[in-house]
Symmetry: C2
Subunit: 385 residues, 2 copies
């Protein structure tokens, strides 16, 4: 049996979620825009799911826009705000450790005469409120800082950052909460954000569904125009089974969050301890426990080629990741780790282990032992070569 420790990349669909989706995959197949009974039944399913996602975020249902992925929601946030100010140009602020869906999108918007500031982070990957305050300008239209980083799990002080933004500028505050959903409480009122992205497949829901929370009054142009679905903010026939699955997945994740995350945190501590005992020079990356997502266990191993390590682990049935799945295959060292001040060598020796609902004590024991053995073997091999 293989041990899957890559839950930040994606998660398996929960049985309960699949069961909830099946009626929408079979019986209730209507187009929610149709006015006949088959259409109305599908519309009801979407409404219920929207209520569930809104409830989890302490938002109003009409503030939830379903999309085809977290990346689409991220793009809708940035491009939607910018498009609304068509032609005028302006200034965007993002952190330097954003997911590519924010980073590449912000950079792409330079073509529309938007200047982009990429905020420095500290060695833990944290954005400082004073650094943000200094970057804000009268023409800043949007600030986007992720809630929790996808490569090291560091949690950002979003409430403070949103406060600074709203105190000093008319800018909209956006946060990518794709990794945070289901791992920590997300309350859009407490956070004080205007836009927030979530995705179903990171919380044991289906792939192909994301959502953008857009605070009432946040001016946003659509990315996809057409039949005016989602209150004209995202056209296209709704992915009814996917949306249903998202609703149930978020409801279950919230109900079990406290207990499950305590359990995963214990397993994470055990795994970290085993790795650090076996490999005393392993460098833990990201914020310390309590300031990072509880299911993230991340290390850099000096002198080890990360891709080689991953392949060796894969061969013995352990699924891990160097960083983001989305940039796997790229040989460039992670922009996140470099921004945190790691050397390119150390950044290329990174291992991200992300635990999940299925992870057991036996898994972390075996994974810890195997990782220590494989890292040691790689180093011995490098010495002989």
């Amino acid at each position: 049996m293989s041990i899957y420790l890559d839950h930040a990349a994606t998660t398996p669909l929960r049985t309960e979620v699949l069961e909830a989706m099946l009626p929408a995959l079979t019986g209730t197949f209507g187009n929610p825009s149709s006015i006949h009974a088959a259409g109305r039944a599908a519309r009801t399913l979407i409404d219920t799911a929207r209520d569930r996602v809104a409830l989890a975020l302490n938002a109003r249902p009409r503030e939830i826009i379903f999309t085809g992925s977290g990346s689409e929601a991220d793009n809708l946030a940035l491009r939607g705000v910018v498009r609304r100010r068509a032609g005028s140009g302006g200034h965007l602020i993002i952190s330097s450790i954003e997911h590519e869906a924010i980073l590449e999108t912000a950079r792409d918007l330079r073509r529309l005469d938007f200047e982009v500031t990429e905020l420095k982070v500290d060695a833990m990957g944290r954005v400082d409120r004073d650094v943000l305050a200094a970057a804000l300008r009268p023409d800043t239209v949007l600030v986007s800082v992720m809630l929790a980083n996808n490569e090291v799990g560091t949690i950002e002080p979003i409430r403070e950052l949103a406060e600074v933004t709203h105190a000093d500028s008319p800018a909209v505050f956006d946060t990518d909460a794709t990794q945070a959903l289901g791992k920590m409480k997300l309350d859009v009122e407490e956070l004080g954000v205007d836009l927030l992205t979530v995705s179903a497949h990171k919380i044991y829901g289906p792939k192909g569904v994301g959502a953008l929370y857009a605070r009432h009054g946040t001016l946003l142009d659509p990315l996809i125009t057409g039949g005016s679905q989602e209150r004209t903010r995202r056209s296209g026939t709704e992915n009814v089974p996917g949306v249903v699955g998202f609703g149930v997945a978020v409801q279950l994740a919230e109900a079990e969050r406290a207990v499950e995350m305590r359990r995963q945190a214990r397993l994470c501590a055990e795994l970290s301890q085993r790795i650090q005992q076996g490999l005393p020079d392993a460098v833990a990356t990201g914020s310390p426990v309590g300031e990072r997502l509880a299911n993230f266990c991340t290390f850099a191993f000096p002198g080890v080629e990360g891709e080689l390590l991953l392949m060796r682990l894969d061969r013995v049935g352990i699924c891990g990741s160097a960083g983001s799945a989305c940039t796997s295959g790229s040989l460039a060292p992670s922009h996140v780790l470099l921004a945190m001040g790691l050397s390119p060598q150390l950044a290329s020796a990174h291992l991200r282990l992300t635990l999940g609902r299925s992870t057991t004590q036996a898994d972390v024991e075996r994974a810890g032992d195997v990782i220590c053995r494989e890292v040691t073997a790689l180093r011995e091999h490098a010495l002989r070569a």
Copy 2:
């Protein structure tokens, strides 16, 4: 039992498609971008599905870009071509009977200094090649004419229109084939198109998946940027089960197309005959049989309020539509029917019946009788009022 005659709005998922999707919904849950075994297994599923969609269109697999809907593919075609020419402005040509995903998108692009010509159609809804030729300009960057109309089923002379476009201009030729897929042969080489949109949920595949065919060499900017999936043309974690379902749905649709469309054409003829016998003043809309999609049966009933008719039919278990599902609820008469020269009164009295795999002889007999009865009742009611 209700009779579903709204297959142009959406179709039920085929059992075989669901069965093919289930392994991807349960076991093979990896992120296709992950390099470990779980990721590679998911990548293989996507590759197979891409091959299937490409085969159905006589395209190469790398020319297929999976999206979250047909609307997203339509937007990617128009916005992608236009964005590639950022800042330069230019001229777009569409037909006046396009789906909203093309129509509204083209109109929206006026904000980026693109002029839009909406080509007139004849009474059948056909675009004439000479009308297109006269509209082409040296600065025309894109022509988009749908393969078959979604409200009346009229098939457009795409091969001729693409020929005219390529002979007289450097413009890219795009076609929305959402309704046509599975109903007629779609060969991108024979058609001579550069871009072509299809969608899974119109051919008994899952909602939440579409695709854009983009001929090799067609310059296109992405709509969604980020992790560079789909060869950087559409970022975001792939909807693996949805894509798998699309692949199987298109394979089945193509295998059964000839036989099934002959069967549906016979049933359509029977239904039309019953309606015309019972309601001699019913006005058949769209092109004659042979020049329209074989599963479309569309009529306008002088003196009848279409929305009222639909509600009455719904009450007795017949699901039909006025026109496009995407604009249901809108009280404005259809832009398609108005462009074809119908009066606003007649356009508001339109009924679209679209047959499908489940439609039986008994269905069309009952539907024909009920429609004649309900139209007559509505007219009598109007006379008394």
